[in-house]
């Protein structure tokens, strides 16, 4: 597997004709300087992913503390105040600092390589976007140190990750925690919008010769859709956070009901960001599955045009479903009906995707590498997550369960069962390209099975206390409700996941230092990034590639039966 399967002698993809001089080994200072000042999309992509993984550990520790506190009834390991801060920071971290950064990291790394470009359309904007994101993370966590403020109350945001007004207003959030929270999301939002502008300009204006829109790999298509969605999704959040800051700093009244303002407006603004955001996170996960599943099934993706259409469809429908987060607010029957129906409508394009993945695997010669294992588990789990989503889209059912652990279980099924599984799948798949080393498969299998068991213990069983009426956001509970055993099993599952994460981190480091050389194309794949050496040189391609089909590397490897004859 480690050898190149490309029928090419010498360096793959060619190197530019400057002879390799014996270079001085750079000092640590020089290396740091190089990474800090880089505008290379691959380095920035790696920094995005690394930054996200770092916060994944931080957010994971917060989750472990939450589970530890809920392990026993009447537990007082963590106070209620700290508990509120923990779930607020856990949510904000996982969505903005983990999900967004890692998916943008993948897009950054892969989109130019897959369309045969040498870099993004705006490399310096790219660097700016990353550093804004990095600054956002620092602002968010700075409130642990500097969030106290003059009034001496609170040292981290404690009003949930959607920050419902008026909890975030001056009267209820004294000190500066809400300020740092708003500032972090504004700053990171600018970074994200910059990245989206960049991805759109790159896909439209940087494609190599022959790479028409309908020959682009699906990963590029989905990231294009996501970038378009980011423009209309992150901006409302940025606008709402600016309003919040005006309220807090300039004495404005946007969300101040005493002056006629409306906290409900914040709910709408937040969820018109918040629900499309779910698709902003999950479509890049689909994008990874769209590359991994065909490669390891040894078949071209089934229904390429349907996949593109479904993704664009999800993009459009997703902006009309936000108020299904607000059934319990009490809306008019007509609004309820509209949001029930639009939410259920999203099930159609997502089901098309699931059928296409299964059809791609069907009859294929499947190779169950760790990457493929994660992708396969993703398909099954995403189906289940979608089914509980349909259940929750029904307004009366939602009224019953909205404030319970059932909802927590549902969205973690999407965020972990779909997105995190796909991120792992993608890391096992592209780590060889990024570093030149294969990730250890034996450790990978340990990682997969431990994580799978832990995931199902935690999030399958978490539905049950929800159905039994256990509310969200409570820091402890009385014994005798029948919730203890479920919370304990959920807690044990969390430990499994934590151990799996340790195995994964060990694998990342171990394989980087001692792993097998990957070669340019370890998986015998078909997209352009495998046409470069691993890791690719700064300029990606020595000469600009020219493509004639959706699987350019298949055409090279099989000149007797190229794809372009049939497309």
């Amino acid at each position: 597997m480690a050898d190149s399967t490309l029928p090419i002698d010498g360096p793959v993809g060619g190197t530019i004709g400057v002879p390799h001089e014996v270079e001085d080994v750079p000092t640590w200072g020089e290396r740091l300087h190089e990474w800090v000042t880089t505008v290379d999309h691959k380095k920035l992509g790696l920094m995005y992913i690394g930054y996200g993984l770092l916060f994944l550990l931080v957010g994971g520790i917060e989750a472990l503390l939450i589970r530890l506190q809920l392990f026993f009834p009447n537990n007082h390991f963590i106070s209620s105040v700290v508990f509120n801060r923990l779930f607020t920071m856990h949510g904000t971290t996982m969505v903005f600092m983990v999900g967004m950064t890692i998916i943008i990291g993948f897009a950054n790394y892969l989109v130019p390589l897959m369309i045969g470009a040498r870099d993004m359309a705006f490399p310096r904007l790219n660097a700016f976007s990353f550093w804004m994101t990095a600054l956002g993370g620092l602002f968010l966590y700075y409130s642990f140190i500097g969030g106290v403020g003059l009034q001496g109350a609170g040292s981290a945001p404690d009003f949930t990750w959607w920050g419902y007004a008026p909890l975030t207003e001056r009267a209820f959030s004294r000190g500066h925690t809400a300020d740092y929270w708003a500032l972090a999301l504004i700053v990171q939002g600018f970074g994200t919008i910059g990245a989206a502008v960049n991805i759109i300009a790159t896909t439209f204006s940087m494609r190599c010769k022959g790479m028409t829109l309908f020959r682009m790999p699906l990963l590029v298509w989905l990231n294009l859709v996501v970038a378009g969605m980011i423009l209309t999704t992150i901006s409302p959040l940025t606008a709402a956070q600016i309003m919040l800051t005006i309220d807090r700093y300039l004495g404005g009244h946007f969300f101040d009901s005493q002056a006629g303002g409306s906290p409900l407006l914040w709910f709408h603004f937040f969820w018109i960001f918040g629900h499309p955001e779910v698709y902003v996170l999950v479509l890049p996960a689909f994008a990874i599955a769209n590359e991994v599943i065909p490669t390891f099934s040894r078949k071209a993706i089934f229904g390429y045009p349907a996949m593109v259409a479904a993704s664009v469809g999800i993009g459009f429908i997703s902006v009309s479903v936000w108020a299904h987060h607000m059934f319990t607010v009490g809306m008019k029957p007509a609004s309820n009906a509209f949001f029930v129906l639009s939410t259920e409508l999203v099930g159609v394009p997502t089901a098309i995707k699931i059928f296409n993945w299964i059809a791609t695997m069907w009859g294929g010669r499947i190779r169950f590498t760790t990457s493929m294992l994660f992708a396969t588990a993703f398909v099954a789990q995403f189906l289940l997550a979608g089914l509980t989503g349909i259940m929750l889209s029904v307004a009366p059912w939602n009224w019953q369960l909205h404030g319970t652990y059932f909802v927590v279980a549902h969205f973690h099924y999407v965020l972990v069962g779909a997105i995190v599984f796909c991120i792992f799948s993608g890391l096992y798949y592209w780590y060889p390209k990024m570093t030149g080393k294969l990730l250890d498969e034996r450790l990978g299998k340990w990682h997969f099975w431990l994580f799978l068991i832990g995931f199902h213990m935690t999030f399958d069983l978490m539905h049950i206390p929800g159905l039994l009426g256990m509310p969200r956001w409570i820091y402890t509970y009385q014994p005798g409700h029948g919730w203890e055993i479920w919370n304990q099993l959920v807690g044990v599952g969390a430990v499994f996941q934590a151990v799996a994460m340790l195995v994964f981190v060990y694998n990342l480091v171990h394989s980087y230092l001692k792993g097998t050389d990957a070669g340019p194309d370890p998986w015998d794949a078909w997209t352009l990034e495998w046409f470069t050496p691993s890791p690719p040189p700064a300029y990606n391609f020595a000469t600009e590639p020219v493509v004639r089909s959706r699987r350019p590397l298949w055409d090279i490897k099989h000149p007797e039966d190229p794809d372009w004859k049939y497309e």
Binding site: S205, G260, S262, T543
Partner: protein, 200 residues
């Protein structure tokens, strides 16, 4: 295993491979994002019309900024004339229309400043006075801040042009800047309608 020495994946098609300009695509993406931000502020404004629990009300204090609006909207026309002159290579004409564009933008800003001065010192309306003040200064201020950004960029180009550093090779970039300026003008049409017509 036949050797393929040149990393070209197939015969290069001889036809040209036209792709859209990345600056234009990028600016359109920025405009979509900016439009959404404005949309949220406009929704907040419209939703809150008449909800203030205390005065002053829009009808009492707002006057129609007709002269201002004419200046800003006509600057869209002058920037188009400037771009056309640049295309022809008529640098003096370009500088003339460009300077006029910047001047019209500046007049608009001065007009807004005078309006705000009157509102604050004569009518006693600040951003914290009532809900109307909050939404009014936010929406109009958001637009004015975009005019300021545009003016900074217009002035930079003007300075470079006066120094003789702008030529026909910068046509594409000037066009991208022109797109932004048209956007700022178009937003004013919406803001004007919402604040001074519907909201009064």
């Amino acid at each position: 295993m036949s050797a393929v020495p040149v990393p070209v994946i197939a015969q290069a098609p001889s036809e040209s491979w036209p792709l859209p300009d990345r600056g234009v695509v990028g600016m359109f993406a920025v405009i979509v994002a900016e439009s959404t931000i404005f949309l949220i502020f406009v929704v907040a404004y419209v939703y809150n019309i008449g909800r203030s629990v205390s005065g002053p009300t829009p009808r009492e204090v707002l006057d129609l900024p007709i002269f201002n609006s004419i200046c800003l909207l006509s600057s869209s026309f002058t920037i188009w004339l400037a771009e056309r002159a640049l295309k022809k290579g008529a640098m003096r004409t370009f500088i003339g229309w460009w300077a006029l564009t910047a001047a019209l933008g500046a007049i608009f800003l001065v007009g807004t400043g005078l309006e705000w001065h009157k509102l604050i010192y004569k009518d006693g309306l600040t951003i914290s006075t009532n809900l109307f003040g909050t939404t009014f200064y936010s929406l109009v201020g958001l637009h004015a801040s975009h005019v300021i950004v545009g003016l900074v960029m217009l002035s930079l180009v003007l300075a470079f042009a006066l120094a003789g550093k702008v030529g026909q090779e910068h046509r594409q970039r000037i066009e991208v800047l022109g797109l932004y300026w048209h956007f700022v003008d178009m937003v004013w049409v919406v803001v004007f309608t919402v604040v001074y017509i519907i909201g009064r």
